[in-house]
Symmetry: C2
């Protein structure tokens, strides 16, 4: 993308500080490889295994960093509240529990039961709301106003972004000569954090965002302008973890600054990738992770010259094992 002369609100140092702040409570996740998938991709793939992260997704990093920052900044923190379609909710519930704080999580009514149970398992209170971005935000704001609980936004929060950026810091330490990193994108917290890390550590490493159909991120990035229609919407996708159409207000400029490309995948692509990874690599990944795998196997990546070593972010593995997409008639 166009290089912009922004005064950056977040840099590599913030990510290194976040790394030190959250180390010990979150895992430094392993890199795994698969000769079968390498052959299929025609590239050397390095899978970052965030489904083995605490709470089953990368979200534990940002949530813990943000909550620890809130406590470090002083002031009263009577508790934590957030809204989330699931993974961020679990992560915030877990992180609040780690820090001994009460927590409320606002979730849409259609959240898979396995995610609701997991949130309750970390002693958080669940509040259900309508399944629209607006309803979620309003419910969350009202709870914060009524109780004084601190809101941890899923992505539009620099401490969250810095926490997610630790994925990039780790990955580029584990595989220092990566040519590209494929990152599933929703609000853009993880992608922008990885952008900041890559830009600081290895600017020639391309960060490529992977989106479900209908997001049309590239148009907005290329225009350097938010071209989405309002109010914000959810995409019609099986990838419940990346269904937010618009990226955040804070994440957008960071993405404009460093995202080198966008790959769009279909539900069928994601479903096939989930099944392939289960069969060949013996790991459970959710559809959002499947998006990154599908992108790694896509023609776009295969045709990309000078890109040989590719990081693939398996961002989470929270799957309702009673509702696997490849067993649905429409994906067979």
């Amino acid at each position: 993308m166009t290089m912009m002369a922004t005064t950056s609100k977040i840099g590599l140092e913030d990510i290194k500080t976040a790394f030190n702040r959250i180390s010990g409570l979150v895992h430094k996740t392993d890199i795994i490889t698969s000769s079968t998938l390498d052959r299929m991709a025609g590239k050397k793939l390095y899978f970052k295994t965030e489904m083995f992260q605490k709470t089953g997704s990368f979200k534990a990093r940002g949530a813990l960093n943000a909550i620890k920052c809130a406590l470090e900044n002083g002031g009263s923190v009577p508790g934590i509240v957030t809204h989330s379609s699931g993974n961020h909710g679990q992560a915030v519930a877990w992180a609040a529990n780690q820090m001994g704080l009460p927590c409320t999580v606002v979730v849409p009514q259609d959240t898979p039961s396995v995610k609701c149970e997991a949130i309750k398992g970390y002693d958080a209170e669940l509040v259900f709301c309508e399944s629209s971005p607006t309803a979620r935000k309003e419910t969350c704001d009202k709870i914060a106003a009524d109780t004084g609980k601190v809101i941890i936004h899923p992505y539009d929060n620099y401490d969250v972004i810095a926490g997610q950026g630790t994925i990039g810091l780790e990955l580029l330490t584990q595989v220092p000569d990566l040519d590209a990193i494929l990152v599933p994108i929703s609000g853009g917290g993880m992608t922008s954090g990885i952008c900041v890390a890559a830009r600081g550590i290895r600017p020639e490493c391309k960060v490529i965002a992977v989106e479900p159909r209908g997001k049309e991120l590239w148009k907005s990035l290329e225009a350097n302008q938010r071209l989405w229609s309002n109010p914000p919407q959810f995409l019609d996708t099986i990838a419940e973890g990346i269904k937010t159409q618009q990226v955040g207000q804070l994440t957008f400029p960071l993405l404009c600054d460093h995202v080198a490309g966008v790959i769009t995948v279909t539900d069928k692509d994601m479903s096939d990738a989930m099944k392939l990874v289960a069969e060949r690599m013996k790991i459970v990944i959710e559809a959002a992770s499947g998006a990154a795998v599908a992108a790694a196997l896509s023609e776009q990546i295969n045709n990309m010259e000078g890109v040989e070593k590719v990081g693939v972010i398996l961002c989470g593995g929270n799957v309702d094992m009673d509702r696997l997409p490849w067993l649905e008639e429409r994906f067979k």
Copy 2:
């Protein structure tokens, strides 16, 4: 079990030699842990992740060791032949391919397609036969007689046993103070190999065999006598990898010598364990591995005094992802 004054045909040194022979071509698989499953078991569990082994199961170890031994022993080795319900077949096909040898694998007609494809993927020839132990053996013997190909038996072969024993050697190096190891048992190659390793390295570590219902291994072990009715049968179980009822002629005395107990699990137990491990640990395990997990969560283990640290052998992860047992009506 009763200690017998046998002159052992296989000892720890054989397993160490096998370890050196196969290192580099097979993985030293990691140990993973889960605080959730530890809480459920009331024990500290150490999972040996053989589903990440080459070919998706531990069988790669024994197959490669036996084929390399056949080549080292001199004499003509025009090729390899074996019979197997799947995992051993894949492993032999892979190992023969590694050593540049042609390979024929006899499989029963009801073998899951994913396993057949995997065998063919290693350039082996598939020969189908009836789904009885006798038919498999006869077909295999005929091919060996006609072609001079060397038979690699799935378990009644000391080189195979020594290869599988490397699991125990690795595990007791990775977690030296284990109190018990739970091993899914079929013909007994893996269990007897782990027995030999444990007896040599840490005799006080109990090796506990985990069987599908109907095997009744304990009766024969306790009697020090083969009490099964002939001809040999397959058990009626979802655990296709451990459906052989009788253990082998070579493995039986080794099992009598060191197996400390047997835990029997149902198909429902295995199915529930597979699903639990997928949901909580994000890994794909086959029903035979589920047997060991179910045993780890059983009352028998929970009640076992002096047993705190338990190794759990996740022996394989070759699952037909279109036919998951917990989605079948009878297991819901």
